[in-house]
């Protein structure tokens, strides 16, 4: 198991956003996390990545307890993520967005920078080469010198994924990766997600779109911060609890 969550609970004031959640993700798996609006999906992402600190519960990533660690420390362990509202470094170019995110690997000291040493230049060359590689993977290499904020929405979403890939994640959390995309962009994103999975990246995604959920090996359904169902996409779709959560009752279904 790459990620294991036990009894995860988060209170905002008196409101329980996530309650006694148990879930796990196997290595190499593509898992979907679904639920109606306000069910707590993004909160779970924020709890895993350390933006929020859980009220109770345990999050274990690759055998290590990561509760209480800061977001950058969790990222360094290999948890990459994208954001639903997709904030980028808007005033940076596409290439800069990725190369800034290449922050972890080659290191340069302040003195290297002041004196522009050979090792600093070598590191920079290596980083821009690797960044271009990632941009090619998501087909953004043609727009690498555009400012990120000027990109169309679908491209920005892909750039968010490219940025998360730059940290060479073991686990990638995608928050609604295809929301607001047009059909050809959706097609392309799905191919890219498949490709990433083939490269050995474990993926957990939040999505409403059934096209992408059908790819998942397992789907976890949550409502009001609690897990209400889990299983293959087609099994989950017929689940009474799930129908009640989405449509309000059996009668409608």
């Amino acid at each position: 198991m790459l990620l294991e969550i036990n009894g995860l609970t988060k209170f905002f004031g008196g409101l329980a956003a996530v309650q006694q959640l148990d879930m796990y993700i196997n290595e190499g798996e593509l898992t979907g996390l679904i639920g109606p609006n306000g069910a707590g999906k993004t909160t779970i992402f924020n709890l895993i990545t350390g933006i929020y600190r859980p009220t109770r519960g345990k999050v274990t990533f690759a055998g290590k307890n990561i509760v209480g660690k800061k977001p950058h420390e969790i990222a360094r362990l290999g948890v990459g993520r994208t954001f639903q509202l997709n904030p980028l470094f808007g005033n940076f170019t596409v290439l800069q967005n990725v190369s800034t995110s290449f922050h972890l690997y080659p290191r340069s000291s302040l003195l290297d920078i002041y004196f522009n040493t050979a090792s600093y230049r070598r590191n920079e060359a290596y980083i821009s080469e690797q960044s271009l590689e990632i941009l090619k993977l998501v087909r953004l290499d043609k727009v690498k010198d555009e400012l990120a904020k000027n990109l169309p929405h679908g491209y920005q979403k892909m750039l968010g994924i490219a940025r998360a890939l730059a940290i060479k994640p073991k686990l990638l959390l995608l928050d609604e990766p295809i929301a607001g995309m047009n059909p050809s962009e959706i097609e392309f994103t799905i191919t890219a997600i498949k490709k990433m999975q083939q490269q050995g990246i474990t993926i957990l995604l939040v999505e409403h779109n059934m096209r992408i959920l059908d790819l998942c090996e397992r789907v976890i359904v949550i409502d009001f911060g609690q897990k209400i169902a889990e299983g293959l996409p087609k099994d989950v779709r017929g689940n009474k609890e799930v129908i009640r959560a989405y449509f309000g009752g059996e009668r409608v279904a």
Partner: protein
């Protein structure tokens, strides 16, 4: 979509060996002119103004180094004061030579800035500004409280000069110091670290999601900024030889912020241009005495109203205005 293909056809562009030399050539020319200025202007008063400009250029450029990391300090003049008072007191009471006091005062200022950075790295935006403002006020209170060694309200006197006699050696000393600081801070801003700082300023949530240790980088920015402002302050102490706490109070910080804003906060050259303009222009209006600040107020008003990006955007504005004029002419001819 065509941002990347903008002005290639500037009038003075020339290439040697595939590299563009326009900018380096212009900058070298400027430095040579500034270095030769004392030959033509042999007035100690003008030298004094230019030396002060040199010192304040280091201060404002280092202020902007902190600003690019998304932190807006309102206590930067106090850090200059820390550097100045440390160097001054070391020179007066410990009798250390300037070559020791200046670098060590800069280092200690950087250390204080970084120590302060640990609690301050938790503050953002307005809260950071307020925290640094109160720190600045606190520094002045410490200077008053330790009146026996700092001179308190009456100021610190008895600092050993860097050079005896003429102001000319000072001119070249501060020219060199300013150039070295500008180059160091330029390299810092356009390095990987500077880019990381700008990333944090744009979105600290995204930055930490890719493994950037936000707090440490913000502390580093403050450390580098404070090192150079401490350097400028220490140099100032050994030049001016008298330190008055009012040079480092909240008003002094506001002036620094104004220099940066008028020059252009988004550009490296901004604080340099702002400092030059705002120190030199008011000198022409000295006869106005107590009304002289109105000149600065007028400059600020004009710049903010017409050039929100600061004075550095002036050439671009003129250029776009010219092309607009040409285009309307063409349209008129065509019709």
């Amino acid at each position: 979509m065509s941002n990347s293909q903008l002005p290639e056809s500037m009038p003075f562009n020339f290439k040697i060996g595939g590299r563009k030399w326009t900018k380096p050539a212009i900058l070298t020319g400027l430095v040579v002119i500034i270095a030769l200025l004392p030959v033509f202007l042999s007035s100690a008063y003008i030298w004094h103004i230019i030396i002060l400009t040199f010192i304040y250029i280091i201060v404002t450029v280092s202020l902007r180094t902190i600003i690019i990391s998304g932190q807006f300090p309102l206590g930067h003049a106090a850090f200059m004061g820390i550097g100045a008072y440390l160097a001054g007191m070391a020179s007066k009471w410990l009798d250390l030579p300037p070559w020791v006091t200046i670098p060590s005062a800069a280092l200690i200022t950087a250390g204080i800035g970084m120590l302060l950075g640990f609690p301050f790295a938790r503050l953002r935006a307005l809260y950071y500004a307020m925290g640094s403002l109160f720190f600045g006020i606190g520094v002045l209170q410490v200077i008053y409280a330790l009146g026996e060694v700092t001179g308190g309200y009456s100021g610190l006197v008895g600092i050993k000069p860097l050079f005896v006699g003429s102001k000319l050696p000072y001119y070249y000393f501060f020219l060199g110091l300013t150039l070295a600081s500008i180059i160091a801070l330029y390299r810092f801003e356009f390095s990987r670290i500077g880019t990381t700082l700008k990333a944090i300023a744009q979105s600290h949530v995204v930055a930490s999601s890719v493994g950037i240790n936000e707090g440490w980088y913000r502390i580093l920015a403050v450390g580098v900024g404070c090192f150079f402002v401490g350097l400028a302050g220490a140099g100032y102490a050994h030049y001016n030889l008298v330190l008055s706490s009012s040079s480092f109070n909240f008003m002094a910080t506001l002036w620094l912020v104004m220099y940066v804003l008028i020059g252009g906060i988004n550009s490296f050259a901004g604080p340099i241009i702002g400092t030059i303009i705002l120190i030199i222009i008011p000198e022409f209006f000295r006869d106005l005495k107590m009304y002289a600040p109105f000149v600065n107020a007028a400059i600020l008003g004009i710049v903010v109203y017409l050039m929100p990006q600061g004075l550095v955007s002036l050439p671009q504005m003129v250029r776009s205005w010219l092309t607009k004029c040409q285009n309307t002419k063409k349209v008129r001819h065509a019709s």
